[in-house]
Amino acid sequence: MLTVNDFLFYLLAAVTFLSGAGVILARNPIHCAFMLVVSMIGIAGIFVTLDAYFIAAVQMIVYAGAVMVLFVMVLMLFDLKHELKAFSKGAISGVLKLLSTGVLLGMLLAYIGYTFSVDPSFKPVPADPQHAMETTKEISSLLFTRYVFGFEVIGVLLLVIAIGAVTLSRISGGTHADS
């Protein structure tokens, strides 16, 4: 008998898998981007089933709400209708690519199946809404004690990116893109 949690996992996994497959199969890049948005939201749901509420919200805000908006805006800005060939050419190389990905996937699945078959079930957690906030506070105190150096490095990285991205978009002149 499936519990609610199991049902949610299978539902979200199906959504994530199908939209993930859509990302690589859709011909129009805009469709790829919207498929990826659905995939990101599905993964945020997966995080919630794993009790990572804050990370799920960050996933929504950063990935679905910021990164993918940038992707969609760039694709709309450079209206790529003229790009007809979505996939790379070559039958032999195509077979090789599929084969190598299949081998990798098979190895990963077999490894997971053999290694983590001891007791893969999760320990139960309290189903109390307060629990999510407690976890968030624990994450936060870890972030600002053990990982405080990484946190500051992220600050530096973001500063560098902010300067670099603006400088990059400046070169080759002109503030307007031909569409």
Binding site: A66, M73, L77, I139, F151, S169
Partner: protein, 123 residues
Amino acid sequence: MSALLAILTFALIVTAIGAGLVWLSSIAGPKVRKTSAKVMPYECGLPGQEAKDTKISIKFYLTAILFIIFDIEIIFMYPWAVTYFDFMKEGLGGYILGAMGVFILLFVVGLIWEVKSKALDWN
């Protein structure tokens, strides 16, 4: 966990009612033959022009990039904000203030640089 189920149910309700209303309006609306003038993009009644070199300012995309960067910096302030008082109660107020002080300083430097480099000017 059940909250997630509730969210999905609610999203389903909203989508169903919204899509139902759109469908209902397509049922209730008149069925008129499409004419070429009707399905043309609306450009104030003039014949549509598909100019080859429509210029769209890359400012939009630059704004989106800067949005990502500052959004992440703000997201890092959220866990800090909720534990700020807890750290102070443990006597680590100066430490946590300093840790975020450096981060905010980097934020401010980035913001000042963007303003000075005119990346945020729109005219």
